[in-house]
Assembly symmetry: C2
Homo-oligomer: 193 residues x 2
């Protein structure tokens, strides 16, 4: 029995999550079994179960890992004015989407799996809050601003899926479209950005 140190455990978990992001992108969910995943990872099935109690838990954990990575990369720089913060975060978001196209598409397309939906709703909720705070400071969003910002996050996913499907626009074009549409939606909600 190898005596794993704390670092070994974390490091193996990290590698398993990386492998998962790749596997769940390359294969349909139903094509993968815990046996196959263990084989791909070069570990025993028992050890895999030690880290993740089920295939679903493993899938959700890989998405959570990706989401945390995304959140870190799009963290706004609060020394900038709101519109520039947003523009910079959006640029980081699009760069991440481009690099992680497979995981991103899988996540959006799996939105009726309850755990994935909860994750997506949480990420959208946090992002919406960030944007609303930039616009309203400490005041809560009006209903129409909440709908505008929330709707725009859907716009972003729809436009990104279109971009990844066709790959006939550069990132700057997508960035400009998203930013201008948000400004328009916020304006329509009676606020400025």
């Amino acid at each position: 029995m190898p005596a794993y140190t704390r670092l070994d455990v974390d490091e193996r978990r990290r590698r398993l999550l990386e492998l998962g992001a790749d596997l769940f992108t390359r294969f349909a969910y139903d094509e993968l079994s815990m046996s196959r995943i263990a084989k791909e990872a070069g570990i025993s099935k028992a050890l895999l179960y030690h880290y993740f109690p089920s295939k679903e838990a493993y899938f959700v954990a890989t998405l959570e890992e990706k989401t945390a990575e995304l959140a870190a990369r799009t963290e706004p720089d609060e020394s900038l004015p709101p519109l520039e913060q947003l523009s910079a975060s959006l640029e980081a978001y699009l760069a991440w989407v481009e690099e992680n196209a497979g995981s991103y598409e899988k996540m959006i397309r799996s939105s009726s799996v309850p755990e994935v939906r909860a994750l997506l709703d949480r990420v959208r909720g946090e992002t919406a809050q960030r944007i609303v705070d930039g616009i309203r400071g400490d005041k809560p969003a009006t209903p129409v601003l909440r709908a505008a910002v929330g709707g725009w996050l859907w716009f972003m996913d729809g436009a990104c899926l279109d971009w990844l499907e066709h790959r006939d626009m550069d990132r700057e074009t997508v960035h400009g479209l998203l930013l201008a549409t948000l400004v328009g939606a916020v304006l329509a909600a009676g606020e400025g950005l």
Copy 2:
């Protein structure tokens, strides 16, 4: 053996689809079985299978029926200028969403079921084409206009789900937000509406 006329068959199918729209809204998909549906419909399970080969086929058929109803109600009046056509169709869309809130939410939330996704993609594709035709006439959409209109259809679903969840805006407010955001997105794509 009753000798059903053609009308009887159509009428029974129509009623089964109506019942399905209600049942799939009130119950989780997994809670319903073909036996239970037959019981609710007051017919034999064998007769139900005669109309729909599986629960999934029945579910998809109820969504298709709702979608056809929606398409008929939002059919644009081509005697009007493009922006007014759009405004009128959007008004009809929102009225339909309000009346069919349960089916609508179910459809958007089931978008990773392949048949539902195909149906949603088809409806979004046809609607996007209508809007692009209103803007560009016979010319095809540029990539960025395609992404703008496609993204806006996602915006519409996100904003409608927010509206149905909170119910704290009137339909006119949602209508104004959606229309202004589309105008903004189309403008950002370098076109006018």
